[in-house]
Subunit: 405 residues, 2 copies
């Protein structure tokens, strides 16, 4: 009996406990997940100020265009004097400069004759115009960023402006990657007959880093049960997650599966998906482990479908509204028709442009050529044997790709 993609995703996500919380400077928090409400220290704005370069006035003092008033002071942004506007006067004021007490409107310099001793205006100011009032954006004590929010540059700006210099975030997941299989030779070596370059190791490492996690170890394990057992017993770098590729299928040399089945803490299953059928997930040495298939494309797809949501959960992101949303899929239309496998979810490597997806040629699980130009995986449901032109499909954005442009 095959497991559905949703069932296996749920099993993988059940491995995740959000990682411990640490407090870091806001400038080092990007990509982390906020662990506790961030509360504004300051009002935003923290004082009434001008939204324009112009003149601060009492609106009542300028009842008509052409009225001339005395310019009694000049307020730059950063002026820390607490000024008071005398009745009938005006003060030159720059964008962001504090409103003098008594003033209730700003006349933009464009609506003036630009005078520096006296000034006349071409418009009648309305009370409150071009004034930014204290606290109108954020009040000190307001929650500005909720727990579970990922820190983007925009969040950094908000935290900094609100006077929050440090923020509580979850630790980044530490991941150890092991490729397995005696057929693999390191990148930079010329493979002999029967050998292939160990592309999975470098690929998984870059996927881990692109996901914002920390790659604490990347290595290769030969098909030797003792060496595999030792590596899993004490993975380097105090990893929060161990990832492997290969050695989990039906073969007589599937050493990862052999060792982990003996340990009894990892489930090996067939998942109704293409590519990526043989999957394993569980714990080893108290740590979550996900064993990905060895076919490079199967490994690549499985990372996006199962490991990326797991890393997000470890990093502190809350559960999505649905398992479908855990993988962060958007929706596009099929630009052309293509055939799909029935009874399994097919993850078709596609290029999305202008809101439409076109499949790449070469969809075999060993075929990497398509990854030179693909930017997404189209999720074709099990019931669908043929995708039709214009059919709406979920797509998972490939890590590091830009989709939609």
């Amino acid at each position: 009996m095959m497991r559905s993609v949703e069932e296996h995703l749920a099993a993988v996500l059940s491995l995740a406990t959000p990682l411990p919380v640490e407090t870091v400077p806001v400038s080092e928090a990007r990509g982390r997940v906020v662990a506790a409400s961030a509360v504004a220290v300051l009002d935003l704005p923290s004082f009434d100020n001008s939204a324009m370069d112009g003149y601060a006035v009492r609106a009542a003092d300028v009842p008509a265009a052409g009225v001339r008033v005395a310019v009694v002071d000049d307020i730059a942004a950063g002026d820390t004097r607490r000024l008071s506007l005398p009745p009938g006067g005006a003060m030159r004021i720059m964008t962001g400069a504090p409103l003098p007490e008594g003033a209730d409107a700003i006349v933009p310099v464009e609506a003036s004759d630009g005078g520096t001793t006296t000034v006349a205006f071409t418009e009648v100011p309305g009370v409150g115009q071009h004034v930014r009032w204290v606290g109108e954006d954020v009040r000190a004590g307001d929650e500005v960023v909720s727990a579970g929010v990922s820190v983007t540059p925009g969040v950094v700006a908000l935290l900094a402006a609100a006077g929050i210099a440090e923020v509580a975030v979850h630790r980044r997941p530490r991941v150890a990657v092991f490729s397995t299989g005696d057929e693999l030779v390191p990148l930079g070596t010329t493979p002999g007959f029967g050998q292939i370059v160990d592309s999975n190791q470098v690929m998984l490492g870059e996927l881990v880093r692109a996901a914002g996690a920390e790659l604490v170890h990347s290595g290769h394990l030969p098909d030797d049960p003792d060496l595999v057992r030792a590596a899993f017993a004490d993975p380097p770098g105090d990893a929060d997650l161990v990832l492997t590729s290969g050695g989990v299928s039906m073969g007589a040399h599937d050493v990862v599966k052999e060792v982990l089945l003996a340990a009894g803490t990892v489930d090996f299953v067939k998942v109704a998906m293409r590519p990526g059928m043989p999957q394993g997930a569980g714990h080893i040495g108290g740590r979550p482990i996900v064993t990905l298939p060895g076919n490079p494309v199967s490994s690549f797809v499985s990372f996006h479908v199962f490991v990326l949501p797991l890393l997000r959960r470890l990093a502190g992101q809350p559960a999505a509204a649905s398992l479908g949303e855990e993988v962060g899929a958007g929706v596009v239309e099929a630009a052309v028709a293509w055939r799909s496998v029935q009874g399994k979810v097919e993850f078709t490597r596609v290029r999305v442009a202008g809101g439409a997806a076109t499949p790449m040629t070469g969809q075999g699980s060993h075929m990497l050529g398509a990854l030179g130009a693909a930017n997404a995986l189209a999720v074709v449901p099990p019931a669908c044997a043929a995708v039709e032109v214009g059919q709406r499909l979920s797509v998972i954005r490939l890590l590091g790709s830009e989709v939609g442009s």
Copy 2:
């Protein structure tokens, strides 16, 4: 006369010359742009091999289910022997193991009795089934990645598998960021009356880094023409691009504008957009400079609309098909109605979920509160005074945000 957004984007992009090319290990190339066709060193696959765990046979030797054949050898992945299949025999073979000469089909282990000395099958193999033929994915000498492609983890996998250990990529842009204005105090300091926290400096630094560029300097300049002039004459870190925020409006203390107007190599313009009207772009000391407005949200929006496309071009990305595509906008529907400014492009901070955009409250150019939850900018065209429910809008994904989930 105001410039259109498209005109100013074209002016900003005209500053870009792709940065020099360097050759780096594939594992360090992620996020860079490939500068010259990457050509496969190896065929993929580089030898005929099995797509399944099972038995290599001559299909003609298994004319019917139940026929029993001798198992004469056992081929693991990584087996470097050049074997030959004797007539009437079978060899156990693992996924990825080389096909013995003479074999033309694989029977999966699931369709066998699993025998190790002799084996019988439950199916009749077709010629070529479950065989991956040499070069069927990629041929040595094929271009696998074109110039202009960004290196994603998938591209890394393809390059590695094809035996390409190093790749020619453009250098990452080096960026110096200067916030300006006497009203700013450093993050971590309590601002006095009339002062605000310098959130732009940390925000622009994180935007630069999130864009994959290198932040070589981040600092603050007071409203002192001599200090501003000196900083621009010799920006630190041998920057490829200088970014400033503030000091470019109509005010008497707009020192950035004053210094650069005197230099005569920077255009200061009003762009028909909200927020973000006052913009400047040009060269100083032979380097591109973009002067962003000081309002935090104006600065944030302008970075996404003008600076990010410029950084992509510096990093070696080719021109997009249209200026609209330079900003990488996708398309979503408006979830609710909202009013917009006429005569200008309005960049509304929105949250996109389930393919629909909802505007955040607090859209003033000084209002950062909305950045706690926004994940995109909706691009509302100048002719549109009111966005209708269901109206299709271009959206620019905010750097570091995930959109569409």
